[in-house]
Amino acid sequence: MSQFWDIYSINVEFALVLGIFALSAYLGLWSGVLSLAPIAFGAGAAYVSARLAYDKIMIGEANYPLITHLIVGMVIGGLLAWVTSFPLLRLGSHYLALATITLVLIARVIALNLDKYTGGTIGIMVERQIRFWHIPIIIGVVSLVFACLRKSRFGFAMDAVREQPEVATSLGINVQRVRRYAFTFAGVLGGLAGVMQAQLVQYLVPETMYVELAFIAIASAVLGGAYIWVGPLIGALLYTAIPEFVEPFLGASKNIVNGALLVIIMIFRQRGVIDPVQFRNLMMRRRSRRAEA
């Protein structure tokens, strides 16, 4: 058992951080916005955090505690999101999606060009302060927030904004504000995940958080089920775990199963693995069966 753990604990760590990225994409979808921007904000946050640590270490002082880096990550992520939300949220949904993909592309280019700060193609070494047990705690806190959000005023407001923005307006909901808050909060999550990701890899280069990660994040969210917060977490775990099962057969091409899995899920179960509606219907059927008996 402990051998299993030695081999796979790092996978679980990456899977859980991917889960946070997936949650950031999910939050956008919740409010009706297809956005990959949190990955770009994660890159920004990671660089700021890595740079702060680097500067400290270079002058011979001890690094800031982990919690500082996590908070810095969230603040930077949120700030970047807030600022970019103003030009971006004016766009129609299709162009908005394209613009968020572009943000991820631009983030890398900025990282390459600000090489005095970011180290350019060489990047920055990152001290790993995260212990394994930190991660479930962080996931737990994030999950708690999402669970609160679900049946909260803001949660229902996001549902209304996603489904029928006009009706939401006539019910007094400030649609743009809801979108902006969701976008910003997604940025906070992106910043958090970005800092964590950089620490897990222990090295930060412009490619650490790039389009591949962005696409995998949203794919995980949809795979796991983009209709409740548990879905993206499950999706990230599945996405990371499944290739390991086929590695003995496919070796380095193991990721192929993920691709096939995505296509299959979109054809046969497009609501994803975890579907709250199906669960609710199941519960109600059981309840009525019990009532009849």
Binding site: L34, L91, G92, N113, L223, S253, N255, G259, A260, M266
Partner: protein, 295 residues
């Protein structure tokens, strides 16, 4: 002056590659609403299959080109039938995107396996003929091919779309599949034709690029995808001329920018242009299609 002309031609050759790819990408996006992130890998397979038949079976330039285009078109049709067709009834952007991500993952894996995770090159004697050395300007034969084939493909595609019956059928199906079917258009045939043309063009772009820039690799296709995407936004969705011209603009700006501003700044200009267009003129230079604004 000589340097400027040299770089201008380099930029146009690069831009021609971008533009050819952009047309193929934009065709699918404008007519079927699918943002296919796997499209770059189709270009890669055009290059890979061409390379394989040259390396293993000693094909010459043009037969290999035909193979590259054919293989790319086939892959395009297969992925459309297997992955996108089942989704057509409930077309939504997110669904198409996730499916295309799945296809992308599969194709990248296959591509890397085919190349054994290496970067390969075509044998240097593949394209014979003198390198253009008029007035001290040097162009590799691959670049010349790009400069010639690209615009021809663009014009040809434009004419097909606007002057032929199949072209108007393609545009009709893109506009509304239901109404096209009611009008008697065989939508299956049209969709397959669109996909074949689009994928074939991508394969062409991939094959010629890999020869002109001495690089057969998966990242080649990904690079075409990113720049093609930028070209379609800058040039305009819905108009193949716009996509091709967008590609030319981006290619030239990249090369001239790298020469006269800074080597590092290549991508800054490209993606800076991209975000500016998305924010302020999303329909591009030539585009008329504008997706509905958010309420």
């Amino acid at each position: 002056m000589r340097l400027f002309l040299q770089q201008l031609l380099n930029g146009l050759a690069l831009g021609s590659a971008y533009g050819t790819f952009a047309m193929s990408f934009g065709l699918i996006f404008a007519t079927m609403g699918i943002l296919n992130v796997a499209h770059g890998t189709i270009a890669t397979f055009g290059a890979i299959s061409g390379w394989i038949v040259v390396k293993q079976f000693g094909f010459s330039f043009i037969p290999a080109l035909a193979v590259g285009v054919a293989v790319a078109a086939t892959i395009g049709i297969l992925t459309d039938r297997l992955a996108f067709q089942p989704l057509r009834a409930r077309a939504n952007t997110l669904g198409y995107l996730i499916t295309s991500i799945g296809v992308w993952i599969v194709l990248i894996s296959l591509g890397e396996t085919a190349l054994n995770h290496q970067i390969e090159v075509f044998p240097p004697d593949l394209l014979s003929g003198p390198r253009l050395a008029a007035t001290d300007i040097y162009l590799a034969p691959g670049q010349v091919w790009l400069l010639v084939v690209g615009p021809i493909a663009a014009i040809a595609l434009y004419l097909v779309l606007t002057r032929t019956q199949i072209g108007s059928m393609i545009r009709a199906v893109g506009f509304s599949e239901v109404w096209s079917r009611i009008s008697g258009v065989s939508t299956t045939f049209v969709i397959l034709s669109t996909v074949a043309i689009s994928a074939g063009l991508a394969g062409l772009a991939g094959y010629l690029s890999s020869i002109a820039f001495d690089n057969v690799s998966v990242p080649l296709g990904e690079g075409l995808l990113l720049k093609g995407f930028a070209a379609v936004v800058v040039g305009g969705f819905g108009d193949v001329r716009g996509a091709f011209l967008g590609g030319l603009i981006i290619g030239t700006v990249e090369v001239l920018g790298a020469q006269y501003v800074s080597g590092q700044f290549r991508d800054v200009i490209t993606f800076g242009l991209l975000i500016l267009f998305l924010l302020f003129r999303p329909e591009g230079i030539f585009g008329e299609i504008r997706f509905g604004a958010v309420r």
